[in-house]
Symmetry: C2
Subunit: 298 residues, 2 copies
């Protein structure tokens, strides 16, 4: 399959859905909603929603469940976007650029940026719990909410960011770096895959296999992110390149050098592909996504 074309069409699908589900910037809260929309629509690869859709279709075999998958996919993107807004804050990574554009607090100020993040996080759960139009089984819906909340929460994404900040400029063990990657990035990526699978009624075995796929592409994704931060220019990345080293952040290249790091990313992708064994043709997009992750350049 042509992964570039596939990603383009899926991004369009996700962005149409975000446009449909997201609040309008009107009425009493228009400025607040405008701040949320700014970061949600400023661009982005939409990796998590695309993974959610692809995993759901892998399980059900076609796109007949897209109407049930799309709100979940959009909720994942809201959560991812909130995490970027908060990560970029002056008190955290203090980044002025994201996706080639001014970060949320540069445009709306720090207070409104914090609240835009809070709003997006809360709105994600509003979206996940909307009265079902498509008829998703309520029990499955609760499992989806729980899976996402755990992955985004104190022992997942938020906890990982807290560790990352706490460890900045300190000498850390490789085990700590793995913990940060697994929680800060890996958990929500894995949850994206699993949430899609849950919507499509995956069996316990399928959930486990897709969980392993998710863990491994999450790892590969973060390793490549580390690499790109070292090797790219700011223009290519759309955010400050070289910023990890500048902040004394532990990264894969800092531990292993560039070549070995590339090798580790490839190995993680191989494990991800192995987890999809036996899922046949419907898993082809998930395979292409895994390969794309190590080949991307931003």
């Amino acid at each position: 399959m042509d992964i570039k074309k596939y990603l383009q069409s899926q991004r369009r699908l996700v962005e149409q859905a975000l446009e449909e589900f997201m609040l309008r910037a009107e009425g009493d809260f228009k400025d607040h909603v405008a701040a949320m929309r700014y970061s949600l629509f400023v661009g982005g690869k939409r990796v998590r929603p695309i993974l959610c859709l692809a995993a759901g279709r892998t399980i059900c075999g076609d796109d007949s469940l897209d109407d049930q998958l799309l709100p979940v996919a959009c909720a994942l993107e809201c959560i991812h976007t909130y995490s970027l807004i908060h990560d970029d804050l002056p008190a955290m990574d203090d980044d002025a650029l994201r996706r080639g554009k001014p970060t949320n607090h540069m445009v709306f100020g720090e207070a409104q940026a914090i609240l835009a993040g809070d709003g997006l996080l809360t709105f994600a759960f509003e979206l996940l719990s909307r009265p079902s139009a498509g008829g998703l089984d309520p029990e499955a819906r609760i499992q989806v909410i729980h899976t996402i909340a755990r992955a985004a929460g104190p022992l997942g994404m938020v906890g990982g960011q807290a560790l990352d900040i706490a460890f900045e400029g300190r000498n850390i063990e490789f085990d700590d770096l793995k913990t940060i990657h697994r929680s800060k990035t890996g958990a929500l990526i894995t949850a994206s895959v699993q949430a899609g699978a849950l919507v499509a009624g995956a069996t316990e075995d399928q959930l486990q296999a897709l969980g392993s796929y998710g863990n491994n592409i999450g790892l590969a994704f973060q390793i490549v992110d580390d690499l790109l931060n070292v090797l790219s220019t700011t223009e290519q990345l759309g955010k400050a390149a070289g910023s990890d080293a500048e902040r004394g952040k532990a990264t894969y290249p800092a531990f292993f050098g560039v070549e070995k790091t590339r090798q580790l990313a490839r190995e993680a992708v191989e494990r991800a592909l192995g987890a999809l064994d036996g899922m046949g043709e419907p898993a082809e997009p998930l395979r292409a996504l895994a390969r794309y992750i190590v080949e991307r350049n931003r």
Copy 2:
């Protein structure tokens, strides 16, 4: 009934449940969890969880559903606590004291305080979506999650805080003040009452009546908060008194003076009591809570 004794016993019940449900400060994320726990256990009136419990018992007639109500009650307190941590941040109200103790960012620093808030908000939804031990109907559980997410979200609590910050130091109309109060404080209080009622299987009529009760005590609560900020000392409040006037915040006393403001609070409580007409003896705690709100002094 003796409201002081009742509140004391209910607070104890809620705090035991928080202790049971909340993550331990151990393992990789112990510092992050410690920051969350600091604000959650630093004290507080526990108004929202107590309202949730009281509303649920009003509908079912006894305390037989407490096991299902308590996780919901605790999730509400987590959301309330997160909102206080973020409101106190330097970029927002910049408060050094809360409940007579240093605010979260004074103890853990700004970055970790933002993340402690994010962690509590996300954890609330993890708690609300836990695999049901007590057997709450999944459809009702989703309604509970949706009610709380909407109330805490961009058109509710977060939106209200965004408006409040945006309007600071500006001359605003009374209608704007009402919008701020209704969203920033009222929405989550109303949702607390309704969530309890939903757990107990309330009818549409009962939900409406309790919604009206919630709206009115939420209003009374905020009016009294405004009054206390004007009339109390910092020692009595456990947070900076007189800070609203200092920041040029619009308040009820600023619009109406102290006497008329007291009168408006009493009227709101009367409307709240009216909404409980016909609910008989089981609604007695809700009535006592409504009266207590206008009589409290911190």
